[in-house]
């Protein structure tokens, strides 16, 4: 019973705290008086009220036990992928779309190959990922920049 009870209670407490923060932020809004209009604060306050009531309900009556969402190792793996996302954003900003795309394609392909083809030697996986990153990166560049004429970041260093 413990895992889910705790999880729901944490969610409930977080929800109550967020709703109180929303109320504070909403009350700080400057209101423009318009005849009949209940004002800008109405909907944020409705959102906060819903969160507050549901948060309290979860604290008072949490749900039943459920299976673990992710193990410690799985959280680490999720963190690695999120790290790659962050790296991609930094590369977009720093070196631009053209360089960031093949780099991120290479990393993600290599990471997933580690799972889907664990028996292949590392060298083979790296070469395969590298070839794929270059070809797919070039194709994506052609589609976005030439085909769709999208104005994508050129990077701080090259812009």
């Amino acid at each position: 019973m413990k895992i889910q009870n705790q999880k729901d209670r944490i969610l409930g407490i977080a929800s109550v705290l967020i709703s109180l923060w929303i109320v504070m932020q909403t009350m700080a809004l400057q209101v423009v008086e318009k005849r009949g209009d209940p004002g800008s604060r109405l909907f944020p306050l409705i959102g906060a009220a819903i969160m507050l009531i549901c948060g309290l309900a979860l604290i008072i009556k949490p749900g039943k036990e459920s299976k673990q969402f992710l193990t410690k190792e799985q959280w680490k793996s999720a963190g690695i992928i999120f790290g790659v996302y962050c790296l991609c954003v930094i590369l977009f900003w720093l070196v631009g779309f053209m360089i960031a795309v093949p780099v991120v394609l290479f990393i993600i392909t290599l990471l997933f190959q580690g799972q889907s083809r664990p028996d292949d030697p590392m060298k083979k996986r790296v070469i395969r990922s590298l070839i794929y990153a270059v070809i797919a990166g070039a194709a994506i560049y052609v589609i976005y920049v030439i085909g769709l004429q999208a104005d994508l970041p050129t990077g701080l260093l090259f812009g």
């Binding site: 709703s19 549901c54 996302y85 991120v104 997933f112 990153a133």
Partner: protein
């Protein structure tokens, strides 16, 4: 109307038109077949491209992906015993039994034919019904629209799976997040967090969806490392027309189709609920229940007919009222919004070409999918062997590039990353993403119409209840929410009573 249909047909039968329909339908089938991805991931990553596309071609592509994805879901269910999409969950129970017995072709043929027969009539019904409902809907005022949005949000919460309090919590959060940016009535900024102008435009729904779905899915796929079962040993022969199976189960087929159409029409339910309801109903009504779960062809027919009929059903509130019927309809509304078109009862009057493109492309995509699935049935095992590592890396790039393109700023990418974390947290705490998404997309309209209703009324909130249609929507939404609240208690009591009776 005849002129418009001819114009749409001319557009659909151009090279780009046919290319988008065929490519969209086939891509939908492939992604639908692969467990864990589904066509909605493809729709989400394509949303930013909608800015750059012709709106009619974009709609043709999107509806083709939806049709293909819904049909492709049965392939993984029948061949691997893993549903490609949530809509094909019930197909696994009986469909996979046929593969285990060495006759996957019978189940696949029945599923493919049911998909086709489920889709085409439901789209035709939607084409006719939308006209009538939209004509009625344009006569409504702000009070009714506000009540309709309220009803749609509460219906999704009340009928969604999972804990009601958690789903409502998601709605509360979505309402707050949707109010960030410019006030729709006074045009003043709200929640700019220290005067940051990036917040003035509000949080872009595309960024939220890219984070909440595409980025999160890839992250969790890697974390969980769930390798699909091998399909190498499965061999699939040529399509066999399931004339006997359909004739034998004709009444059940018709019943499942109606059920799918109706459930699709209700906001937020869509294919997954339609297939579960149809499967359960046919199971309950079956004279011989011993075959169910051990390879009953009606189980496959009911599920696959209902989930495809739900597509047409979901198009009705989308086009006639501007209310998304399911998650893919949210993506349609977003794509239309990116072209400056608002989904509302005026859509069919102001943009008839766009609307009829959706219908005609849906019909053509249904035919393309049927042709591919009947002729190309022996290639199905190959679809399940597509190397995931290549596909996932492309999705990551499309999601992050799209995150930038949606707002043409790094702020959009930042919102995408935060939404990805939010999506993981929502999954962890068991908060359903559909009510959240529905509330986020409907809150701007709900707020605008509610406040207009108040401003235009002499009696304040009373007008929402004295106007009959508005009152009906408010009561209906509230009742569904109450049903969601009470039904688990009733189910618990019934189960306890059954246990007691069995004990005695």
């Amino acid at each position: 109307m005849g002129d418009i249909i001819i114009q749409v047909l001319q557009e659909c039968f151009t090279f780009p038109g046919l290319l988008f329909i065929i490519a969209g339908a086939l891509a939908g089938v492939i992604l639908g077949a692969i467990p864990g991805l589904g066509s909605s991931t493809l729709l989400v990553v394509l949303l930013p491209i909608a800015y750059k596309m012709d709106v009619n071609m974009c709609m043709a592509l999107f509806i083709s992906i939806v049709i293909g994805g819904m049909s492709g879901g049965c392939i993984g269910s029948i061949l691997l015993g893993i549903p490609g999409t949530a809509s094909s969950m019930t197909t696994v129970t009986d469909g996979y039994e046929f593969t285990k017995q060495g006759d996957p072709v019978r189940a696949l043929s029945a599923a493919v034919t049911s998909n086709f027969l489920g889709t085409i009539p439901s789209v035709l019904i939607a084409t006719v019904a939308c006209n009538f409902i939209a004509r009625w809907a344009v006569t409504l005022g702000s009070w009714e629209y506000a009540a309709l949005c309220y009803c749609a949000i509460l219906m999704v919460v009340g009928l969604s799976k999972g804990n009601l309090a958690k789903n409502l919590l998601g709605v509360g959060l979505a309402i707050f997040l949707a109010t960030i940016g410019t006030d729709p009535i006074t045009a003043r900024g709200r929640f700019l967090f220290g005067g940051n102008v990036a917040f003035l435009g509000g949080l872009n729904i595309i960024n939220i969806m890219l984070g909440l779905f595409a980025s999160k899915i890839i992250m969790l796929e890697y974390a969980r490392h769930e390798k699909a079962k091998s399909s190498e040993k499965i061999k699939v022969g040529r399509y066999r027309f399931p004339g006997k199976d359909l004739a034998h189960n004709f009444v059940g087929f018709i019943r499942s189709w109606f059920m799918g159409l109706f459930i699709g029409f209700l906001p937020g339910l869509g294919g997954p609920v339609a297939s579960i309801m149809a499967y359960s109903t046919e199971n309950i009504l079956a004279k011989d229940k011993s075959t169910w779960g051990h390879g009953e062809i009606m189980g496959v027919i009911a599920s696959e007919t209902a989930n495809n009929a739900a597509i047409g059903g979901a198009l009705i509130p989308l086009i006639a009222l501007g209310i998304p019927g399911d998650a893919s309809c949210v993506q349609f509304i977003t794509a239309l919004g990116s072209k400056g078109i608002t989904a509302s009862p005026m859509l069919i009057r102001e943009n008839p070409v766009v609307v009829y493109t959706i219908f005609i492309a849906a019909l053509l995509a249904g035919i393309v999918v049927f042709l591919y699935e009947t002729i190309g049935m022996p290639t199905f095992p190959a679809l399940l062997k597509i190397p995931y590592h290549y596909l996932y890396s492309i999705i990551v790039i499309l999601a992050l590039t799209g995150g930038y393109m949606a707002t043409m700023s790094f702020f959009g990418l930042f919102v995408t990353l935060i939404s990805c974390i939010l999506g993981v947290l929502m999954d962890m705490f068991g908060i359903s993403s559909l009510p959240f998404l529905m509330a986020f997309i409907l809150t701007p309209q709900l707020e605008m119409y509610t406040r207009r209703g108040f401003a235009g009324s002499a009696t304040g909130w009373m007008d929402f209840f004295t106007r009959p249609i508005s009152c009906i929507f408010i009561v209906a939404g509230t009742l569904v929410l109450l049903y969601g609240l009470i039904s688990p208690v009733i189910k618990k009591r019934r189960a306890a009573a059954k246990e007691n009776a069995a004990g005695e």
